[in-house]
């Protein structure tokens, strides 16, 4: 009986040891898996994965300060690699590239050396330049301040311009105005939709300034998208939705009048959704990748997007991750409880970027 008891105790000790050892291995395994998952989910790893995902998806074009201090046009892969100065004109300031929808031609504005780019008035400034898509063969389309706020028609043969007298459709070859229509309060940032059926712009609507509106390009009929503190609209490639910057009222009092976020809405103004917001930054220059899968924008601590200085850091995020709220935001978090915190791929400084999947340059 004693022998049996000793054996029983021995057997029990052995079982306990095996159980404890097994449990330790399981706990260690769980910890390892958990930390691995945490590492994969960390903002740095998420951004690294995003950078890998986008690095070969065409090119982004933007304006930025060159080494000599003047504004030039640059191109880089979406991950920031293979950056190149595509205008390299130290005697001019060049800004606001806009590719034709067939990726053949480039529009931008050329200002006298030393001129300050105005974040609101840039479309009126300098001469309109048309060049090949890679920036070569630049030629002036008009004189100083001519063809303001020019944007491409779907076939690249015409441009829509905006001045006090209205919206004008201009034939690029002959430089003749083919058709004009009233601007109905639109005062800046006119962009023609890729399908040619619409304009979007920033204007006055229903007594409110800084409204983003959509106009039927044929009839001139206009509908609001948002009528409070909004601007810099641009089109989703399908021409059905509009991406824009907006600064809602009554935000947390971390600055005098709130922060500017990036939103998207249907062309009729419905289904407005947050894309990206970050307290402490104003988000401007939002555009979508050619397939609409990614958003490219600038984030600037100073309002205005940095045009008067040296631009602002550019960023890329997946639209499937939207809404993204980076950092704490007492105003945005309660409104978007399911928002993600990223990932966001940070890029170099620039202003008014655009994105093409066309292989405009060789690496």
């Amino acid at each position: 009986m004693r022998m049996n008891n000793e054996r029983l105790v021995k057997t029990m000790n052995h079982s306990i040891r095996i159980t404890v050892f097994g449990s330790l291995i399981m706990i260690a395994g769980l910890c390892a898996a958990s930390s691995l998952r945490a590492a994969q989910d960390s903002p740095q790893d998420g951004a690294a994965a995003l950078i890998q995902e986008i690095k070969s998806k065409g090119w982004i074009l933007y304006c930025a300060r060159s080494d000599n201090g003047s504004w030039d046009l640059f191109a880089s892969r979406p991950d920031g690699s293979h950056k190149r100065n595509i205008t390299n004109t130290p005697d001019f300031e060049e800004a606001a590239p806009l590719l034709s929808h067939d990726n053949q031609k480039l529009l931008f504005r050329r200002l006298p050396k030393g001129a300050t780019i105005d974040h609101d008035l840039w479309g009126f400034q300098g001469r309109l330049i048309v060049a090949d898509a890679d920036g070569s063969n630049p030629r002036a389309l008009g004189e100083d301040k001519e063809f303001p706020w020019a944007s491409w028609s779907p076939d690249g043969r015409r441009i829509a311009c905006l001045d006090r007298k209205g919206i004008h459709i201009v034939d690029v070859q002959s430089r003749q105005t083919i058709r004009s229509l009233p601007r109905k309060g639109i005062y800046q940032q006119l962009f023609w939709s890729p399908d040619g059926k619409w304009f979007t712009g920033t204007g006055n609507h229903a007594g409110a300034q800084w409204s983003v509106v959509r106009m039927d390009a044929l009839t001139g009929e206009l509908n609001p998208i948002v009528t409070f503190q909004s601007c810099t609209p641009d089109w989703r490639p399908d021409s059905n939705r509009i991406i824009f910057s907006s600064r809602p009222a009554n935000q947390s009092p971390t600055n005098s009048y709130g922060w500017t976020q990036l939103y998207i809405a249907d062309g009729d103004g419905q289904n407005m959704q947050l894309i990206y917001g970050e307290d402490g930054f104003h988000i401007y220059g939002g555009v979508l990748s050619p397939d609409g899968a990614y958003a490219l924008f600038t984030k600037c601590t100073a309002d205005g997007g940095g045009a008067e200085e040296a631009g602002a850091p550019m960023c890329i995020m997946r639209m499937s991750d939207a809404p993204v709220i980076a950092g704490p935001s007492p105003f945005l978090e309660p409104k978007y409880p399911g928002a993600n915190s990223g990932p966001v791929a940070p890029l170099t400084g620039g202003w008014e970027p655009i994105w093409t999947y066309a292989e405009l340059f060789s690496e």
């Binding site: 005062y187 006055n204 007594g207 300034q209």
Partner: protein
Amino acid sequence: MKNRLHAVLLFLCLICISCSPKSDDGEDPRVTSMGRFEITAQLLEIPEPFPDIPLYDYAYVLKYKVLTVHRGALDADVLYVAHYNPLKPRDQVADVRSGDIGGNLKKIKAGGVHRMALDEPIDDFYMGGIINKYFEQETGPIYWALWTNQVIQ
């Protein structure tokens, strides 16, 4: 004694007269020549405080009671006039966006009487943000204030 009192009163009256602002009808070569319309009008109200964000330019629509029509065919007792960047003195307000505007009015206050050179439609003269708190009312055309002088009555 009586003569001395009269002298003191006369002296005080002279001081009052000399210290009171001189009347000024606001006429000058710019206000009498710019735009198609020229009026003297009283600003009836300022609907809400003017936004004070120096980064953003805007025009603000204000409601005036017309006192005198100097030039142009205007048949209205009340006019709606847009002033550019209304927080700035009129002689410092002109810039690239506004074009040639100005005047000697230092501060826009409700009740003030202004002599103004005006034109319309505003979209032919100004391309920028417009705050119009009277949007839902029947206002007629919004006039653009080209030149705004203070009137002292």
